[in-house]
Symmetry: C2
Subunit: 357 residues, 2 copies
């Protein structure tokens, strides 16, 4: 490990952080806790050049603040803002950051998941300015993955989105680095936590409304829960997985989608009592060369691999040609998980752009 004094001599790697919600607030201390290790591995000193949010303003710091130092502050955002220049918009923030040699934009804004906006605009702009982009937003990826990857390629930068599907469970990197040639033929997955929690509460005797407000209280369900319950969240994730793992060209509206809105409470309870609880299942397979992706409620019997995913944060089971069936399970739902996906992408970006072995 390098001494702190040595890592201060390393060249800076400058990061713009757009959005400062839960994920960003978990990301900063995670980055700080790994910063010494990262510096020694990557040969770079991680510096936050800018932080911006719609509600509290967009700030570019004249020199940037060391990630480890910033995370030690009680109110990192305020501390950062006090010594920075305020920009008038997210666009100006990206342009000014780029002019000051930022290397990467980490895009963690809240957004309209259906359209992917305004994140999509920000990501396009950053890529055009030759910034690497890491996003935790499903929308832009599900709607425009290939356009954005192509744009990144043209500008010799990377576009990464590990945390959009199963938080930091490295399904995207896995496919890129280690499952390239395995021949993925199909997958089945449990990708949406909210429907799992709501269905489990209904099984325990709650009404749909009670279950939804409980899920909102514990911070799992959104203010508009139907984005999850009608299967949109799962459809976005299924789109990204199918396109990434199976060379698809899908958009979310091409995913056959059925949510849990029309299930009867009696039916849900009866299935659970019979030992085959109903969960929202994502699937993709090929039929006559055509990629078919679906999201729909299915009863899971005890012999079903997906049964192992009941009560977990998510499960992905792949049918592969060379390796047979492989299953990955994310057991917990921790606030650091999405942040870890972002960190994992950042490491991949720095490694590849440095040809780091």
């Amino acid at each position: 490990m390098n001494e702190p004094s040595l890592s201060a001599l390393l060249p800076p790697y400058r990061i713009l952080l757009l959005g400062y919600g839960h994920v960003a607030q978990a990301f900063l201390p995670l980055l700080a806790s790994r910063s010494e290790w990262l510096s020694s591995k990557l040969g770079a000193r991680l510096v936050i050049s800018g932080i911006g949010t719609r509600s509290t303003g967009y700030y570019i710091h004249p020199r940037g603040i060391d990630a480890a130092t910033l995370a030690l502050e009680t109110h990192p955002f305020q501390r950062f803002a006090e010594s920075s220049t305020r920009m008038e918009s997210a666009e100006a923030f990206i342009q000014e950051g780029s002019a000051r040699n930022a290397n990467a934009l980490i895009e963690l804004t809240t957004l309209d998941p259906r359209s992917g906006q305004p994140a999509l605009t920000y990501i396009r702009l950053a890529l055009q300015r030759s910034l690497h982009v890491i996003t935790a937003n499903k929308g832009p990826v599900a709607h425009a993955q290939f356009e954005l990857q192509e744009l990144a390629h043209r500008h010799h930068v990377q576009f990464r989105f590990e945390s959009t599907v199963m938080d930091g469970l490295p399904v995207i990197n896995l496919s890129e680095y280690t499952l390239q040639a395995v021949g993925i033929q199909s997958f089945r997955a449990l990708l949406n936590t909210t429907t799992g929690i709501v269905l489990r509460m209904i099984e325990q005797g709650y009404t749909l409304e009670e279950a939804i407000s409980q899920a909102q209280r514990i911070g799992v369900a959104e203010a508009d829960p139907w984005y999850d319950l009608d299967g949109w969240d799962a459809a976005m994730k299924t789109t990204i997985l199918a396109n990434t793992l199976m060379d698809g060209q899908l958009t979310p509206d091409l995913v056959e989608r059925e949510g849990i809105r029309n299930l009867s409470l009696d039916g849900i309870c009866a299935a659970a009592l019979a030992g085959t609880p109903i969960r929202l299942v994502s699937t993709a397979h090929r039929e006559h060369g055509l990629l078919i992706a679906e999201v729909r409620p299915q009863p899971l019997d005890t012999g079903d691999i997906l049964h192992m995913g009941l009560g977990t944060g998510g499960l992905l089971s792949l049918e592969t040609e060379a390796m047979g069936t492989i299953t990955l399970i994310e057991h917990d739902t921790l606030p650091t998980q999405t942040a870890y996906g972002v960190l994992s992408d950042l490491i991949a970006v720095i490694r590849q752009s440095k040809h780091y072995l």
Copy 2:
């Protein structure tokens, strides 16, 4: 995809194949089936420059034979040998291959797993000659991982061993590419297939001897089954995993090891009847900074994550700081799995040595 005529124009990537048992025989057609895709992705044409085994001789082909062409032969080894120069030893094979610009040695010999010899000698020699080395042999890795990685580093080549632990389930590459900063605190795993099969047969009423000969008949157990049943195979794999995932410096003799030899048949059956079947469990964790790794039989109750691994090819469950618990399951035991691990390493070697994005 490139046309075959185009890929013929690509520069050759020359491979020496040492050992021609089950794994090598599954590897050649797998490589061939992916060769067009690999050529287009990697910008190289995969060529077999040499094949050697102790029993049938070591051969270097004057120009090398295209991997895809060779795999089409009914008897690839004979076809290769007929048009090649025979070397007097494995050492001469490696030296001559290296002199003829081979890029990588794929080391798949059978060996004494306890000492790691003679594979260890071959691997050292190849690394000293600046060949990348990929091995499916646990012995050399468990005994000398750091020496060999250091040697590889000095000669600017890579030493890879994905298939030594869970065949092609990408646990080693996973840790290198995507779980670097996750903070792995401990793991528990089912890593040995033979003990799983033998214990299951005992649960079904067979004697230990009957179970062993059945496992030998289906090709799972070795002629000397005690390497598996006394926990040596699991101890080697546990060593490699602990060293790779948890920055350990273990050798197999530092792993606390207890096999299934001393279990009573009645005890095995009673545990299974109680719903808590006994399996050989690998674990590693830190105590006061010290890495403790163990292999021993344990009853698995239904709430235990390892219970999901009963009847599968293997299971690895990681406790991590940033991602909580993550589990990977290899459900099947297919002949292509180890070969896929080798192919996955070969892709990683070529990508990294070409700084391929």
